[in-house]
C-alpha cells in the first residue's frame, strides 16, 4: 500500500529520471570512454587513464581533421549568418513581390534529404569543373545553414514590436541609428542563436561533406573512416570537450539573460 502511494506520488520524477537517462547515457558513455586506456580500439573498457585528455592530438590526423572542421565551421557560420540575417530582415520586415514564394523556398533545403543534396552538389561542382575540397564544402555548408539561420532570426524579428522602432524614429533616431540602437540589439540574441546552430550543423555534417570534400578530412569524416579499424579514444575526448563547451555556452547565456532581466 505504502509503496504504491510512494510510487504514485513520485511518478513524474521517476519518469523524468528515465527520460534524462535515455537522453544522456550515450553522452555519458562517450565521456567515460574518453578515459579508456584502450589503445587503438576503443570498444572494450581496459582501464582508466588520463593520457587521452593530456594528449588529445595523440591519434594520427585527429587534430588535422578537427582543425579542418573548425575552419569550415567558422567560415560557413559567418557567411550563413550574415546572408541568412539579411534574408530574414527582408522577409520579416518588407513587403515585396515573391515574398511568400521565397518564404516557402527557403524551407526546401531543410526538407531535402541530405544524400540527395550532397550527391547533386558533387555533380554540380564536377560539371562546373570545380574539384571537391575545402571551398566546395564551405559553399555546401553555407547553403544548408542559411535556411536554419533565416528561420531562427525571422522568429526573433516577428516577436519584435514594430512600435519600438517607431518610438526610436519618433525620438530623433534616423533609419540607421534606429537599426543600430534598437533593432539590432533586440534581434541579436536570435542572430547569436542562429550562429551557434549554424556552427554545430556545419561541424556535425557528414553526409554532404563526404560527397564534396575529396581528400579533405573533417572530424566527422575522420571518425567515420576510423570506425572501420577502431575509433581512437581521442575522438571521445574531442566529442566530450565539444559537449561541455556547448553546455558552458548555454549556461553562460542563461546567466547573462537572467542578469539582464534583473
Amino acid at each position: 500500500m505504502r509503496l504504491t502511494w510512494w510510487f504514485r506520488k513520485n511518478l513524474i520524477r521517476i519518469y523524468m529520471v528515465l527520460g534524462f537517462t535515455y537522453l544522456f547515457v550515450p553522452v555519458a558513455y562517450t565521456f567515460a570512454f574518453s578515459f579508456n586506456n584502450g589503445g587503438k580500439s576503443n570498444l572494450v573498457w581496459k582501464g582508466f587513464t588520463l593520457s587521452n585528455w593530456q594528449n588529445p592530438c595523440g591519434a594520427p590526423d585527429v587534430c588535422l581533421a578537427l582543425g579542418n572542421s573548425i575552419r569550415v565551421g567558422l567560415i560557413s557560420t559567418v557567411a550563413a549568418t550574415i546572408l541568412g540575417t539579411l534574408i530574414a530582415f527582408a522577409l520579416g520586415r518588407h513587403q515585396f513581390k515573391g515574398r511568400s514564394t521565397t518564404n516557402t523556398l527557403i524551407f526546401l533545403p531543410m526538407a531535402t534529404p541530405e544524400v540527395v543534396l550532397g550527391a547533386s552538389l558533387l555533380a554540380m561542382f564536377l560539371n562546373l569543373g570545380i574539384n571537391p575540397g575545402f571551398w566546395p564544402v564551405v559553399i555546401a555548408h553555407v547553403m544548408f545553414c542559411i535556411s536554419f539561420v533565416v528561420v531562427t532570426v525571422k522568429a526573433r524579428i516577428a516577436s519584435l514590436d514594430p512600435r519600438l522602432e517607431q518610438a526610436a524614429m519618433d525620438l530623433y533616431a534616423n533609419e540607421f541609428e534606429t537599426f543600430r540602437k534598437i533593432t539590432l540589439p533586440l534581434v541579436a540574441p536570435g542572430i547569436a542563436g542562429a550562429a551557434l546552430l549554424a556552427f554545430s550543423l556545419s561541424f556535425d555534417d557528414f553526409i554532404i561533406t563526404n560527397f564534396n570534400s575529396g581528400t579533405l578530412t573533417t572530424f566527422p569524416k575522420f571518425v567515420y573512416v576510423a570506425s572501420a579499424r577502431g575509433i581512437p579514444a581521442q575522438a571521445n575526448v574531442i566529442g566530450s570537450a565539444m559537449f561541455f563547451l556547448a553546455l558552458f555556452i548555454v549556461i553562460a547565456g542563461q546567466l547573462v539573460n537572467r542578469r539582464k532581466a534583473r
Partner: protein, 379 residues
C-alpha cells in the same frame, strides 16, 4: 536633424488631410487648427480616424492628400525624426534592453546632446520616479511605465506632444490619478498636448478643447462644456454623455426662442442652440437637467405631461428613471437625491420639466441613436 527647441513652434495646422488605406478612407478631408500650448483631445470611437490622424502628425503615416504645418513650417513630407514632435505610445513602447535612464536620454543623445544627466534627472523628478533610473522597463508597473514614457517624450521639449490612448492600459483608479497628473504636467511644461482617446470622461477631464471625430471627420470641436451643453449632431449628443432626443417641428417664434411642437405639446428652444436645417428637429435635453414631479404638480419652463415611470433605479447620489411618454418614447431622467423626498416608483404618473435654456435642437433627419451604441464595445 531637427532641433526641438528651434524655431519650429506655433499652432499645429492640419489642412485638407485625407488618408486612405486601399478603399477605406480613414481620415476624410480633415482641417484642424490646434493652438500652441493647448491640451487638445481627439475623441471618437475606434475606427474613427483619430489614431491615424495622430500617426500622420508624428510622421508614422503619410497623408494621401493635404498638408500638416507647425507654425509656418510645412512638416508633411519630413521623416518622424525630423519633426519637433514626440509621442507617448499606447503600450508605452519603452526600449526593453535599455535602462530607464537611457530610455529617457535616448532622444537627447540622438540630437547630439552630450550632457544629459541634468535633464533626465529633472524629468524623472517631474514624474516622481527618480529612484528607478537604473531599472529596466520590465521591472516597472504599468503606471510607472506610463510615466517613464511620458518623461521620455517631454524631456525633449517638443513643440507638440502626442498621446495615443495613454491611460488605456491602466486600471480605473490609477487612470483617474494620472488624468489629474497629466493635466498638471501639461500646465507645468507648457507644451501642446494632443491626446487621442475613446474615453469621453478622460477627454473632458483633461482637455481644453475636444474634437469629436466620427468616420474620418470632425463632428464638432469646442470646449468640454460647449460640446456637452450645445451638441450640434446626434452623434456628439449621444457620444458625450447621454441625451434624450425627441422628434418635433418648429411651430413659431417667441423672441429669442423657437416654439417647437413635440407630439402636441409645446416647448421652447433658444435659437442659438438650434442646429436644425428646417422645421423638422430633434429636441435634445440631458437627463440630469430634467425635473420630475408627480402628475398634476404645477411646473414652469418646458413641461411635458403624460409620462409614466417604467423603471426606477436608485443609485445613491441620484435616482435614474425611465419615463414612458404618450408617444411611446422612453425618456431618461437623473434626479439628485437631495430633497429628502422618497424616490418615485415604477408606474407613477409624472410630469417632466426643465429650463428652456438647457434645450438644444438638432437636424430632424438625423438618426436619434447615432453614437449611442458605440460605448459598449469600447471598454
Amino acid at each position: 536633424m531637427a532641433d526641438a527647441s528651434s524655431s519650429t513652434r506655433g499652432d499645429l495646422r492640419i489642412v485638407d488631410v485625407t488618408k486612405s488605406f486601399g478603399d477605406f478612407t480613414a481620415v476624410d478631408d480633415l482641417t484642424l487648427t490646434i493652438p500652441e500650448g493647448s491640451f487638445f483631445a481627439l475623441l471618437g470611437p475606434s475606427g474613427c480616424g483619430k489614431t491615424t490622424t495622430l500617426r500622420m502628425i508624428a510622421g508614422l503615416e503619410e497623408p494621401t492628400q493635404g498638408s500638416i504645418h507647425i507654425g509656418s513650417t510645412d512638416i508633411t513630407n519630413t521623416r518622424p525624426y525630423q519633426r519637433p514632435v514626440n509621442t507617448v505610445f499606447q503600450n508605452y513602447a519603452l526600449f526593453p534592453h535599455l535602462s530607464i535612464f537611457e530610455n529617457i536620454a535616448f532622444g537627447l543623445r540622438r540630437r547630439g546632446i552630450k550632457d544629459v544627466k541634468e535633464a533626465v534627472d529633472k524629468v524623472l523628478n517631474l514624474v516622481e520616479l527618480p529612484h528607478l533610473a537604473q531599472r529596466k522597463p520590465v521591472q516597472l508597473s504599468g503606471g510607472q511605465q506610463q510615466r517613464i514614457a511620458l518623461a521620455r517624450a517631454i524631456v525633449n521639449r517638443p513643440a507638440l506632444l502626442l498621446l495615443d490612448e495613454p491611460l488605456g492600459a491602466l486600471d480605473l483608479k490609477l487612470r483617474r490619478q494620472m488624468q489629474i497628473e497629466l493635466k498638471w504636467i501639461q500646465t507645468e511644461v507648457g507644451i501642446t498636448f494632443v491626446h487621442v482617446t475613446h474615453d469621453q470622461e478622460e477627454a473632458m477631464t483633461m482637455a481644453d478643447t475636444i474634437a469629436v471625430m466620427n468616420e474620418g471627420k470632425v463632428e464638432q470641436m469646442g470646449t468640454p462644456a460647449d460640446l456637452y451643453d450645445n451638441p450640434k449632431t446626434a452623434f456628439v449628443a449621444n457620444f458625450l454623455g447621454q441625451s434624450n432626443l425627441i422628434e418635433g417641428r418648429i411651430d413659431g417664434n417667441d423672441g429669442d426662442n423657437f416654439v417647437v411642437d413635440v407630439f402636441g405639446q409645446k416647448i421652447k428652444i433658444n435659437k442659438n442652440r438650434s442646429h436644425a436645417k428646417d422645421s423638422s428637429v430633434l429636441a435634445g435635453i440631458r437627463p440630469e437637467k430634467i425635473r420630475i414631479q408627480p402628475a398634476g404638480t404645477a411646473m414652469s419652463g418646458n413641461v411635458l405631461t403624460g409620462g409614466v415611470i417604467s423603471d426606477a433605479s436608485y443609485i445613491g447620489v441620484s435616482t435614474q428613471y425611465q419615463v414612458e411618454m404618450p408617444w411611446k418614447q422612453e425618456l431618461m431622467v437623473f434626479e439628485q437625491n437631495d430633497d429628502g423626498v422618497p424616490p418615485l416608483e415604477k408606474g407613477d404618473a409624472v410630469t417632466l420639466s426643465w429650463e428652456p435654456v438647457f434645450t438644444f435642437a438638432l437636424d430632424g433627419r438625423e438618426d436619434a441613436f447615432a453614437g449611442s451604441e458605440v460605448h459598449a464595445d469600447e471598454e
